[in-house]
């Protein structure tokens, strides 16, 4: 079979995410492309969690509505997801907890009998799945060993028992091994962290917040390996204040948060604009306003990020849509932040941050471009007026340089002034920098396309929506255009990629079509919009339906 979608569901605390990852690991070992979607409410126990693991022979970047195998650790999973079943789908379940038709096994009893905690059901069910798919047991063992570090033997024993029990079940699906090596599975959060390190990251500060908390966890775990300072600060204002201090002191800094935390950083963002502090901010979008749906996804903060901060100052907004783009985005963000001494915001979202994809981190080279540095000649002036608006940098500790950073308007030395002429020159310095940024960005291709490049129907997308859109376009034979940088918009390249388009359909995870607005303001006509704002990501099948209605 060419592709397979498995949904595993249960309560928070049932180890669903862990089980999903193990299933993904199994299918990955078989050489399939993997996409793992996680769906969970903002609670630690109870409620309903599920993962969808989709495996395909071809590259995929999205999960699907419909599934082939439904694995239920509780009854809710059946109730909520039976609508996803196809004619031929199979249900695997714990018959001690769930009533359903299909492959039921007494897993609760099995675990109990072995004196193991209920969460071990997720190991048992993995083994059942493996048996039913005809996967060799040694692969199950391998996956268990690589994912657990406690009670490994006990888990393998349970797995053996469950595997043997299920071995004789009907094999509805047989998974043929593909001729691909297993790939490295990675979440968007890990990719952002690794990309930042490739761009020279030296300092990471954060305050926990879904969906980017795992960036903090990952970097804290690996701080020695990457030679980083990692701080969990008192709150988000402390986070960005510290990062700006570190950047002023010459260290490449990044912070990560989502909308509510970003809101608290807005005053300091404006400081980065005035004082010209290089800084990268990961903004992991989730549905607002306010606390909203904290563990779900959305794309509602493009305009917020674009205009956040009092006063006008240049910035770059990057919107990666898949795992490789996330690595590159975080790397390039560092280099651009330092090249232009500006804040760079990475617009991620829950769907990108927490979904797992096969990744190629080694194919993306590290690249730490030197910033424009002071040559040590004459008197140092932090805000020297230059042709391109970019002043050479020096840092405290450098003999001969007095480095004065200022949140007021200031003269070239960084001394406060309220003179109209100097204020004007500084405003123009910022305008020049914006022009320099546009010029630099033109050197790089920043608009991707998918699907049929000649199609007259174009889906305009950004960020994680790209995954579902690319696949829908593939199926319908239309074209996808995805700007990687959403500000400043790569207008010329967009024009090129739109060439021949008769109908441009914006597809976004928000209620107003925020990118559509920007693209329209740049002079392109948006003919229709497909918007989603219930916290759930698009799937290819859903998009196919919606696009069909329009074209």
């Amino acid at each position: 079979m060419k592709e397979l979608s498995i949904l595993i569901g249960g309560k928070a605390g049932d180890g669903i995410r862990q089980a999903g990852a193990s299933i993904a690991g199994l299918l990955n070992e078989f050489g399939y492309w993997i996409f793992v979607y996680e769906d969970y409410p903002s609670i630690i126990r109870g409620g309903h969690n599920f993962s969808i693991i989709r495996a395909a022979a071809e590259k995929i970047l999205a999960h699907e509505e419909k599934i082939d195998i439904l694995i239920a650790l509780d009854q809710q999973t059946i109730n909520k997801h039976s609508r996803r079943l196809k004619k031929n789908s199979l249900i695997i379940f714990d018959s001690n907890a769930v009533k359903a038709d299909g492959a039921g096994f007494a897993l609760t009893e099995m675990v109990k009998k072995n004196n193991l905690p209920p969460i071990v059901r997720n190991t048992a069910v993995l083994a059942v799945l493996a048996a039913i798919l005809g996967v060799d047991f040694f692969l199950v063992e391998k996956v268990i060993k690589s994912s657990l570090n406690k009670k490994v033997e006990e888990n393998i024993a349970i797995a053996r028992e469950a595997y043997d029990l299920a071995k004789s079940s009907e094999k509805k699906f047989t998974l043929s091994r593909l001729d691909n090596p297993a790939r490295q599975l990675m979440t968007g959060n890990e990719a952002l962290a690794i990309g930042a390190v490739k761009g020279g990251l030296e300092f990471y500060a954060a305050y926990p917040m879904t969906p980017v908390t795992a960036v903090l966890h990952f970097l804290a775990e690996n701080k020695k390996k990457f030679n980083l300072q990692v701080v969990h600060a008192e709150n988000e204002i402390g986070v960005i204040g510290m990062a700006e201090g570190a950047a002023y002191a010459g260290k490449r800094a990044m912070v990560g948060t989502s909308g509510g935390g970003f809101a608290l950083m807005v005053e300091h963002l404006s400081l980065a604009g005035q004082a010209e502090i290089p800084l990268v901010i990961i903004l992991g979008q989730r549905p607002g306003p306010a606390t909203g749906l904290p563990t779900y996804t959305g794309q509602g903060e493009l305009l917020f990020a674009l205009h956040a901060g009092h006063g006008e100052f240049p910035r770059i907004l990057i919107a990666p849509g898949d795992i490789d783009e996330a690595i590159e985005a975080a790397r390039d963000a560092q280099n651009w932040a330092w090249q232009f001494q500006i804040p760079v915001i990475i617009l991620a979202d829950k769907h990108l941050c927490e979904s797992a994809f096969p990744a190629n981190p080694d194919k993306i080279p590290a690249e730490v471009k030197a910033a424009k540095l002071w040559d040590g000649q004459g008197e140092y002036r932090r805000y020297l007026w230059t042709e391109d608006g970019i002043s050479p940098l020096a840092f405290p500790g450098q003999v001969g340089a007095i480095v004065k950073s200022d949140s007021y308007e200031h003269d070239e030395d960084g001394i406060t002034t309220e003179e109209a002429e100097i204020a004007l020159k500084n405003a123009e310095k910022r305008i020049k920098k914006a022009a320099a940024i546009e010029a630099e960005l033109k050197k790089k291709s920043l608009v991707k396309t998918y699907g049929d490049q000649n199609s007259q129907t174009v889906l305009l997308v950004w960020g994680s929506t790209k995954g579902a859109a690319a696949e829908a376009a593939e199926r319908l034979g239309c074209r996808v255009v995805q700007p990687l940088v959403v500000h400043p918009l790569p207008v010329n390249e967009l024009a090129e990629k739109f060439q021949g388009a008769k109908k441009i359909i914006g597809v976004e995870g928000n209620a107003s079509g925020q990118l559509c607005g920007l693209v329209a303001a740049a002079g392109f006509k948006i003919d229709a919009k497909i918007l989603k704002y219930d916290g759930r990501p698009f799937t290819p099948a859903e998009l196919v339906e919606k696009i069909k209605k329009i074209i």
């Binding site: 030296e202 300092f203 500060a205 300072q229 701080v231 600060a233 008192e234 709150n235 204002i237 402390g238 986070v239 960005i240 204040g241 510290m242 990062a243 700006e244 201090g245 570190a246 950047a247 002023y248 002191a249 010459g250 260290k251 800094a253 005053e267 300091h268 400081l271 004082a275 040590g376 840092f395 405290p396 500790g397 450098q398 003999v399 001969g400 340089a401 007095i402 480095v403 004065k404 950073s405 200022d406 949140s407 007021y408 030395d413 960084g414 001394i415 406060t416």
Partner: protein
């Protein structure tokens, strides 16, 4: 590469920026004390000039960033401590001095101050405590006495002041001192001690605001230098800190000096272990 200058004078540490504090402002005393302390520390080779980095908030006090010819980060209102923390974590070899107003450090950005003390990060914090929001033309601040008649409380403020020394001692600061801007020589000494202290050093400076809260006489009548006080004794430090409660009580006894000083591992050092 330029070479480090020897024999730094107060003039070397001064920029050409015209000073715009009111005549009689307590900030002048702080400015001269800071410059002398910095100059001496550099000349005594206790710190390197190029490593000296000052961070300020916004308020009358903040203008000192423009007047000091050293590395400076003139931050936002209430936000000198977090950038100072970031600078120190990023570059532990730097000598970082954060300066803040009372509105700044005890109101707008109190969180950062408490956590810097809690971390015992190796910074010096100098508070220009004029007990009023001066640059915004005279409103009640966290250390204003109760019943303060500022422009936002024309009938008198309703709550009592906080006691910053007590707060810092319990929050984890390992050096806690108070000085008076009217005695720049003593302040200079305290600042030298604070900067050389390994750990979070907090210096509260009683700074009369000539225009909006002229406390010169009040302080002159009340301040005295701590003597026979053991700064390693936390209870004694707390007791001394409570001797004056920042009220406008008549005939106050206001101790100045180092209330508390102990050595403890610093956050910036522990981070690199």
């Amino acid at each position: 590469m330029a070479e480090a200058q020897k024999n730094i004078t107060v003039a070397d540490l001064s920029t050409a920026c015209p000073n715009t504090w009111c005549p009689g402002c307590g900030n002048f005393g702080i400015e001269i004390a800071v410059k002398k302390a910095f100059g001496e520390l550099i000349n005594e080779e206790k710190i390197k000039r190029e490593n000296l980095t000052v961070v300020t908030g916004i308020g009358c006090h903040g203008k000192i960033a423009d007047y000091l010819n050293v590395n400076s980060f003139y931050s936002l209102h209430g936000r000198s401590i977090a950038p100072a923390t970031g600078i120190k974590i990023a570059r532990p070899e730097l000598s970082v001095v954060a300066m803040a107003g009372d509105g700044d450090a005890y109101g707008e950005g109190l969180d950062h101050l408490v956590f810097a003390a809690k971390r015992n990060i190796n910074l010096t914090v100098i508070i220009h405590d004029n007990r009023v929001y001066a640059l915004t033309t005279g409103q009640v601040s966290p250390t204003s006495p109760k019943n303060f008649k500022g422009k936002s409380t024309p009938d008198g403020s309703l709550d009592k002041p906080i006691n910053p020394l007590e707060l810092m001692i319990i929050a984890g600061a390992t050096f806690v001192a108070r000085a008076f801007a009217g005695d720049a020589e003593f302040l200079r000494e305290i600042i030298k001690e604070a900067v050389t202290h390994q750990g979070f050093a907090f210096v509260e400076v009683l700074q009369p605001c000539f225009t909006f809260f002229n406390t010169y006489e009040y302080y002159r009548g009340g301040v005295y230098h701590l003597e026979n006080h053991n700064p390693a004794d936390k209870s004694a430090a707390l007791e001394k800190a409570r001797e004056w409660d920042y009220s406008d009580s008549a005939a106050p006894k206001i101790p100045l000096g180092i209330f508390y000083q102990v050595e403890q591992p610093t956050f910036d050092r522990l981070m690199r272990e």
